[in-house]
Symmetry: C2
Subunit: 309 residues, 2 copies
């Protein structure tokens, strides 16, 4: 297919049953036309997934590549306590990528868009030397939750797994398979933006961040933006699924929980418990991210993913 044929195919594969609330003009013009909800706010994010950096083709299917790129972007909207509204998807495709693979990527994008209820209303197609998917998402909310509102005394709360996706990637790299690693592999291949949990924390949380680069690193962003210290409880961080997967691949589950990325869990802080979240720590005066165990407290230096370190 040439570029125009691919755009026509995109339009067909991505077309939702109805165009979506507030979407006046979707795929096919210079820009999408939207009618924003009156009186509310919109949140807006962009995220790129690049071959050889965020994924390797031998470890995921093309459909997974489209799915996880879309979820990764939508997770930023969930972390603001907003509802994903619609998306634009910009695909950079290699010259050798065949039509079936192209369609698989688009099916993955479409499946993720369907799951979070935000249609793809436009995008861009380009050739390039490596595959890349860049997704921009608009979300709607009445009040957005930033990283900067955590207060001493807040409970630190988690929705979704941490470390599990990193365990899944390790299992794939080490060619470990079986029941004990299947949930981890699924977590890495098909992460889920925590939209419902984000909406449930939006009315009560003081601060929120999604865990894309590792719990220690992302909790550190929240701590820094809020001018507080985040204390994580060691015994609350390793889920049964992570324990099982770690045992099967021979990895330290606490290391994975603290520094593994790409689970897209949400971490929020609030004075009261938030439905759908579990307590994993407290907010205190000070700075940095600390781990509390029966032996005492120690600061955790971020080791999560840095593109240029």
């Amino acid at each position: 297919m040439n570029e125009l044929e691919r755009i026509a195919r995109l339009s067909k594969l991505l077309a939702p049953p109805d165009q979506g609330a507030g979407v006046e003009l979707g795929i096919g013009d210079d820009a999408a036309v939207l009618s924003p909800p009156s009186g509310g706010r919109v949140v807006w994010t962009i995220d790129a997934q690049v071959e050889a950096v965020h994924f390797r083709r031998e470890l995921v299917s093309f459909e997974d590549i489209g799915y996880r790129a879309t979820m990764a972007a939508a997770s930023d909207v969930a972390a603001m306590g907003a509802r994903p509204w619609c998306m634009l998807s910009s695909l950079v495709l290699t010259e050798s990528l065949d039509d079936a693979s192209f369609e698989s990527i688009v099916r993955g994008v479409s499946a993720a868009a369907g799951r979070i209820g935000a249609p793809v209303v436009g995008g861009n197609l380009s050739r390039g030397d490596g595959l890349a998917i860049t997704t921009t998402v608009l979300g709607t909310c009445s009040r957005a939750i930033s990283r900067g509102g955590a207060k001493p005394g807040d409970h630190v709360q988690l929705a979704g797994p941490v470390g599990l996706a990193a365990a899944g990637l390790l299992a794939l790299q080490r060619v470990v398979s079986g029941d004990r690693v299947d949930p981890a592999i699924a977590a890495w291949r098909r992460p889920v933006a925590r939209v419902a949990e984000g909406l449930s924390m939006a009315s009560i949380a003081h601060a929120c961040v999604d865990v894309s680069d590792g719990l220690a690193r992302d909790a550190g962003h929240l701590a820094k933006a809020s001018g507080v210290r985040v204390v994580l409880f060691r015994e609350a961080l390793v889920s049964d699924a992570l324990g099982d997967a770690s045992a099967a691949i021979g990895a330290d589950p606490l290391e994975l929980a603290l520094h593994g990325g790409e689970d897209y869990a949400l971490v929020c802080t609030s004075a009261v418990d938030v439905p759908g979240f579990t307590r994993i720590g407290i907010v205190d005066e000070g700075a940095g991210v600390w781990l509390r165990s029966p032996d005492g407290e120690a600061e955790i230096l971020p080791r999560g993913f840095d593109h240029f370190a």
Copy 2:
């Protein structure tokens, strides 16, 4: 600089004097937070510029790369008759790109953002094997002009150059310099989104498209979306600047005017003349794009840029 240091630098280089109308939270959180104008519409686009496809480093400076990527995206908003409101910029940078080059790219983005009056309120940084800049732009308008409203009898009108950027690229590739090609080289290195012209056509035009891939190809999109035939007047297509540059580089100016891309001119159709535009043709019943000369009319088959043809 590591990733966090680069984000801090980005934030500083891109920070506008004031945050921008309707921008509640800019760079530094999971997403930007915006307050859309009440009662209006927003238009939304994304565009990618990829190394070795859209540019080669030996022909443009890093600042030019940032500038033209930003303008290319903003042009889609101008083509809808909307005012650029704000942008997100996603940069994929090679591991070897040094800090000075990174800052030059950002300065180019910032200069373009300043020129069109739309602040960069967020973005994304990633490593990759090739440089790429993906820009998403939101614009505001009361009524958006699509490609699909052209009516038989409309005047086809042009704002901005066509073919000049392509002549500039040829001059660079053929190492031709001097007064006669300087405007062409500037058109390729520093294209301008036609925001003022877009706003001036918005209240009266029936259809509009920007010329990113070549006049014949983009006018063809408009013709197809509108279900009409576009007839271009041969004598109206070659500007003096394009004639001079073509002579200097030994190229056919009409070929460049019809098939050269990346000028980001606007083509609109309307029943009356639009200020800032010049007449280059008419809309008729039928299909396709045709060239009218003293010898008669001939259909022009699109030869502009196709990423996968």
